[in-house]
């Protein structure tokens, strides 16, 4: 049996390690030695029971020496520093499938920031830039960590330009409760997982304001259209947005109180300030950063009214109701116009 590596023992990382341990031996890397001890001795971490096939370590080399297939699952904000820790240990023989839905920006985010697309990288591009690894994949889809930990049924996509990476990912992850699809459009799949975050904030907000299901599905559908417009303006196809990592992930995060981004929107609608919310949730929700990046990239000329209204609500003090009114006044020509050309 091959040993598979997981980097990052957050709730999703731990859930993925448990999922992998159903078919494989797993080495789980955590920076914090107390966490390592918890996992190895108490066998419970992040409220999840740890599969007996999992061994935790805080030694990066122990992981890279023993595993060729590795799943890095750490927040986007610390992804680069994690890669730097592993940089000298990773070779082209290693295969990395990450599970991080976020973007890396090589500039400080400020109010008037203008970005070029080259300033922004998805996690897979960051791996290619920072390490010797070339065979890279990503794991995406509606995978709320809590439900995976509860061993509920779920599905995901492993995307990679390399078929063999998809195959390895499928073989490692698939089980009776977890179905894995494949795609070669890795950047599109990553973007779907990233862009959906701000739509989830908007969804939480409408939910908190007391709007009904009609309104919310209206918002989410238009949100998806907007995500596709953005992706297309950078040369990506709509396909990834129509699958598990697109609609699939969107449905889960936009309807679930388990989603961090949904909760941000919900609390905002209840009058809480962003700082308070961040304190309560524990870390920045990815969707807030996504909104800032979309604004900084607006020179690419995509139509994204929801993102722009949401940005004004969160950062410029626009009243929520006024924001919704302006969205209702926005002229649109067609329902679906993104499939051709």
């Amino acid at each position: 049996m091959k040993t598979i590596g997981v980097i990052g023992a957050g709730s999703f990382g731990t859930a993925v390690a448990n999922l992998l341990a159903e078919n494989n031996n797993v080495i789980l890397f955590a920076r914090n030695s107390t966490v390592v001890e918890n996992i190895n001795v108490k066998r419970v971490h992040k409220k999840q029971e740890i599969n007996t096939r999992i061994e935790a370590t805080d030694n990066p080399q122990y992981l890279t020496d023993n595993c060729e297939l590795i799943f890095p699952i750490v927040p986007s904000s610390s992804f680069k520093s994690m890669l730097q820790d592993f940089k000298n240990l990773l070779t082209p023989r290693h295969i990395l499938i990450h599970g991080t839905k976020g973007l890396h920006v090589n500039k400080k985010i400020t109010k008037d920031l203008k970005l070029d697309v080259r300033d922004v990288s998805t996690m897979s591009s960051l791996i290619l830039q920072e390490t010797s690894v070339v065979r890279v994949g990503c794991l995406a889809g509606p995978n709320l960590a809590t439900e995976i930990a509860e061993k509920q049924i779920a599905a995901a996509v492993v995307a990679s330009r390399y078929d063999e990476v998809i195959e390895l990912g499928k073989r490692a992850l698939s089980s009776k409760r977890f179905k894995v699809y494949g795609s070669n459009e890795i950047i599109g799949i990553e973007l779907a997982g990233i862009l959906k975050n701000y739509v989830a904030i908007a969804s939480g907000m409408t939910s908190g304001l007391g709007y009904g299901d009609n309104a919310r599905s209206f918002l989410v559908t238009r949100g998806m259209t907007e995500m596709i417009y953005i992706a297309k303006s950078f040369g990506f196809t709509p396909e990834p947005f129509l699958g598990i990592a697109g609609i699939g992930d969107l449905m889960a995060t936009c309807n679930s109180k388990l989603s961090r981004n949904f909760r941000v929107g919900y609390y905002l609608s209840q009058g809480k300030k962003l700082d308070e919310i961040i304190e309560e949730i524990g870390e920045v929700a990815e969707g807030v950063k996504t909104l800032q990046l979309i604004k900084a990239l607006s020179s690419y000329g995509f139509k994204a009214p929801i993102a722009s209204v949401l940005y004004r609500v969160i950062f410029e003090g626009l009243e929520m109701q006024k924001g919704i009114n302006s969205l209702m006044n926005f002229t649109v020509e067609a329902d679906v116009d993104f499939l051709n050309s």
Partner: protein
């Protein structure tokens, strides 16, 4: 910093004994070599066309297409007996398809496939004759340098010591490293492609730096041109018939290259596939032949051979391209279709000689610029042949081909690696492009005209009346100044290379550029007038030469 060096003398061959050259060994072992290629292609074809008489359908289709080709689109190069072969095949295939026993039928179909592959392979295969090679390497530079010295009115110079051909040909880049690597592994030279003269030019340049003869695919119709055919027939070039488009033929061609590379034969191919029509350096590459490089490396690893394959990007730089006018017209017509060789340019040896004559009398030089060798993944390699990736870390090539600890063959992965290699080559092309004064003046002049008429598209622009094609000298001068500044910055960032003249003052750049811009063409493309203006006599050609420095974002820098 100046870039180019000139070798006054030809370098010694890195392997002195021609009989030790892989290209010679392969040509001595022709039978086994062809068998290896045919066996490999057969295995792949049978795998591709498994079951349901798919192979029979393929063979029928090939036979049909070949008869059509030979009757509707015959070339002088066609073998007169080939039509007979296919007509006979037609009958035999009908008989085969009537065989009821499946096993027996399949065996018969395979026989047809074997015969077809034999016909193709024997047509493709290159010859290499050391005696003729030696003769050619001695005579060609001699002929060129004689021509070079004997221009009208100065015939007496025929009898004075000739300026060496190798002085005219400037070489730039990692030549010592390439010479070292030539004995450690297999070299694959991938040049930019602007002119039909590129392959002989590269061939001569390689001999100049002492690299054993290269094999390369040349259009079969070139073999009917007297001056070229005898030369090419015995110097290691293999024949490519672009009218044959069936998969079996294409696979044979690819495997011809793959097997040659695994046997250490240094190769040359133009990865752009065809000459640049627009005058711009390649922006995309054909991946088919390039893929054979990746596959050959993987086969070497599988066979535990430590022979590594090194890819060397080459940029050919000159002030003018003989076919420029025709090429740019094709481009503007958006002909799109791959139009193989313009017969009229090379119709007779006289025209070829005239061109070569013009080339060496009119043009001050030609610069062959070699990029740093890379491995098949596009990683740069050092003088020991070790791969160094973008992060400056040493990497092992085999690691890219190992999955779960096992070295395996994976076609899809190879395709992605080939795309990666192609991207690295394209970047290297840009970085090793040498900007000449003629490129500067043409870029500036064209940009000025284009900016004056921003509302016009390129086709409308081409129809501008003569009166519109005049630029004030001071405006022109300002543009050249700005372009020079931008070029120096790019050079500092190693985004391109500059010819020595670019470091001179603005007037020198302009005068030198005007003098050499398209010096082959019947009339100068840009002319300085007595009223202190610059007039453009051929906007299309100007556009062609302008495009050479496209893709560096220079347009915005010379406003």
């Amino acid at each position: 910093m100046r870039d180019s060096i000139t070798y006054k003398k030809k370098q010694a061959f890195v392997i002195e004994d021609v009989k030790e050259w892989p290209i010679y060994k392969v040509s001595q072992d022709k039978e086994n070599y062809l068998k290896e290629i045919i066996d490999k292609t057969k295995k792949e074809t049978l795998e591709r066309l498994k079951g349901d008489d798919k192979l029979l359908d393929e063979v029928k289709k090939i036979r049909y297409q070949e008869i059509i080709r030979l009757t509707k689109n015959p070339w002088q190069s066609d073998n007169p007996s080939e039509l007979q072969f296919w007509k006979k095949k037609k009958k035999e295939i009908i008989e085969t398809s009537e065989i009821e026993d499946k096993e027996e039928r399949e065996k018969e179909i395979e026989k047809h496939l074997d015969e077809i592959m034999n016909l193709y392979a024997n047509e493709i295969v290159a010859n290499f004759d050391p005696a003729k090679f030696k003769l050619a390497t001695r005579i060609l530079p001699f002929v060129f340098s004689r021509l070079l010295n004997a221009f009208p009115g100065k015939l007496y110079r025929l009898f004075t010591p000739a300026q060496s051909f190798h002085e005219k040909l400037q070489l730039n880049g990692e030549i010592e490293q390439i010479r070292t690597l030539a004995t450690q592994g297999t070299l694959v030279f991938v040049p930019t492609h602007f002119s039909n003269l590129d392959s002989p030019a590269v061939g001569i340049a390689m001999t100049g730096i002492g690299i054993p003869a290269l094999t390369y695919g040349a259009g079969i119709n070139l073999f009917t041109i007297k001056l070229l055919s005898n030369m090419m027939n015995n110097l290691g070039s293999y024949k490519v018939d672009r009218r044959r488009r069936n998969a079996v033929y294409l696979d044979l061609l690819k495997n011809y290259s793959t097997v040659g590379l695994t046997r250490g034969v240094h190769s040359l191919f133009f990865p752009g596939g065809t000459r640049s029509r627009s005058g711009q350096i390649e922006e995309s590459l054909k991946l088919g032949l390039l893929g054979t490089v990746v596959e050959a490396q993987q086969i070497n690893l599988k066979n535990k051979s430590d022979k590594k394959i090194f890819v060397v990007p080459v940029v050919l730089n000159y002030h003018f391209v003989m076919e420029a006018s025709k090429l740019i017209t094709d481009y503007l017509k958006a002909a799109g279709k791959e139009q193989y060789l313009n017969k009229d340019e090379f119709k007779n040896s006289f025209k070829t000689i005239k061109f070569i004559y013009k080339f060496f009398t009119a043009s001050p030089k030609m610069v062959v610029s070699f990029g740093q060798p890379m491995d098949v993944l596009g990683n740069k390699v050092n003088e020991h042949g070790e791969s160094i990736n973008n992060l400056g870390m040493k990497v092992k090539v085999e690691d890219y081909f190992i999955t779960n600890g096992v070295l395996n063959n994976n076609k899809q992965r190879n395709r992605v690696y080939t795309e990666r290699l192609a991207n690295r080559i394209l970047t290297a092309f840009k970085e090793n492009n040498i900007v000449f004064t003629s490129h500067v003046v043409s870029f500036v002049a064209f940009e000025i005209i284009q900016k004056r008429h921003q509302q016009l598209n390129i086709y409308e622009l081409m129809r501008l009346p003569k009166e519109e094609l005049e630029i004030g000298y001071s405006e022109f001068e300002k543009g050249v100044k700005k372009m020079k500044a931008a070029l120096l910055k790019l050079k500092q960032k190693k985004k391109l290379k500059l010819s020595n003249e670019i470091y001179e003052d603005i007037h020198f750049i302009i005068n030198n550029g005007l003098k050499f811009l398209g010096s082959y063409h019947p009339q100068p493309i840009l002319k300085k007038t007595k009223k202190n203006t610059i007039i453009i006599t051929d906007l299309k050609l100007l556009y062609f030469y302008h495009n050479r420095t496209n893709g560096y974002d220079l347009s915005s820098k010379i406003d």
